[in-house]
Subunit: 221 residues, 2 copies
């Protein structure tokens, strides 16, 4: 591809991280620009119909939604990280969407003002992982030996829950051994560790502590 | 394909309708089963990780999320309704997701308890259509002469807003002439008219009137 893509990002956004992991897996040369989501610049609002990140600029074209961006990257840059058959691809896409719903539950869990809100999000996470446990391969990745788009999509959630457990929160994968092994493989993947800055752990935990919600009370900085 | 797909549905669900339109465009022989979303059967909860419709069963495999199901149908049944290049496909996929966000705004608008909630959803719809106006072709469909997946994805929203305007609610496409012309082409498309039962209009309007919210007060049955 002749045009160097430009990813527009917010520094701890898990949805952007999905695209960064995919770009790194494919060794694509790309630019990345960070915006302040609490104070979005006008040029960004003109560019993005949803006002959300990630946005990928390719020449004069604008792509939005992390799953869409990753499908695009997979179609134009080797190696192919999608499943080989239409049915398997569709299942991976469905589980990518399911992963998005658990990212929302993770957000609600870390933002929960009280124990009741925390428990609602907590239950969504445990139930979700029980569903994933039923469809996971023997590992190390979602579908076996090869790291795929579905792995890139889940890695940001898995990394965050891994960091929360390191800082004293419960281990949401404790009841699901395959999910737990998958999490270990994902957080150790070079593209995943390289997809965040070296100060990510501190920044991520600090942000939750600063929110001062129910999760913050259970965390040790 | 040897296996007849089975679509699991809820009778006025716009997300299921996207898949029905796609199946009709491709003249696929399929089964459809309706469930009561307010009282989901156990077999459905076992099948669906999200608890949402549509679900597509293909033999022993289960697909969920309307965009995922439509991508699958497009990969296995002719004619191809997706754009021809990776960049165009990605743009269509992004606008399909944007259409989903406006379906959510439509739901919030028809459910609004008061004028303030109505106006919030109303503004999302008008702003969204202004964005779409900028990217629409000269018509009749999203990208020109050919009805595509992105058209199938937007038709359920367009049909509902068309019916609301017929029953006295404001015309949300009034400020965007290309969107308005696109809406007319979509609601006249045979696959769209055939995708709902003959009593859909009455059922859809009745459901909003029964909610008794702000929109109901503006509608004439």
């Amino acid at each position: 591809m002749s045009q160097k893509p430009r990813l527009i990002s917010f520094d701890v956004c898990p949805f952007v991280q999905r695209s960064v992991i995919t770009l790194l897996e494919k060794k694509v040369d790309f630019d990345i620009d960070y915006i302040d989501l609490a104070n979005k610049p006008d040029w960004f609002l003109k560019l993005s119909p949803t006002g959300k990140v990630p946005v990928l600029q390719v020449g004069n074209d604008v792509l939005f939604e992390s799953a869409v961006i990753n499908e695009y990257l997979d179609e134009v840059y080797a190696p192919m990280l999608h499943a080989k058959t239409p049915l398997e691809r569709a299942k991976h896409r469905a589980w990518i969407e399911f992963g998005s719903s658990l990212l929302v539950a993770h957000y609600q869990m870390t933002n929960a003002a009280d124990e009741a809100a925390y428990n609602t999000a907590r239950e969504t996470l445990y139930k979700g992982f029980a569903r994933v446990e039923d469809v996971l391969s023997e590992g190390p990745y979602f579908a076996g030996d090869t790291f795929m788009l579905v792995d890139a999509a889940w890695a940001p959630l898995m990394l965050r829950l891994h960091l929360l457990a390191r800082h004293g929160l419960e281990d949401f994968t404790a009841k699901t051994p395959k999910v737990s092994a998958w999490q270990k493989a994902l957080v150790a993947r070079p593209s995943v560790t390289a997809s965040v800055d070296s100060d990510f752990e501190g920044k991520y935990i600090r942000r939750i502590l600063d929110k001062g919600g129910y999760s913050a009370g259970k965390l040790a900085a």
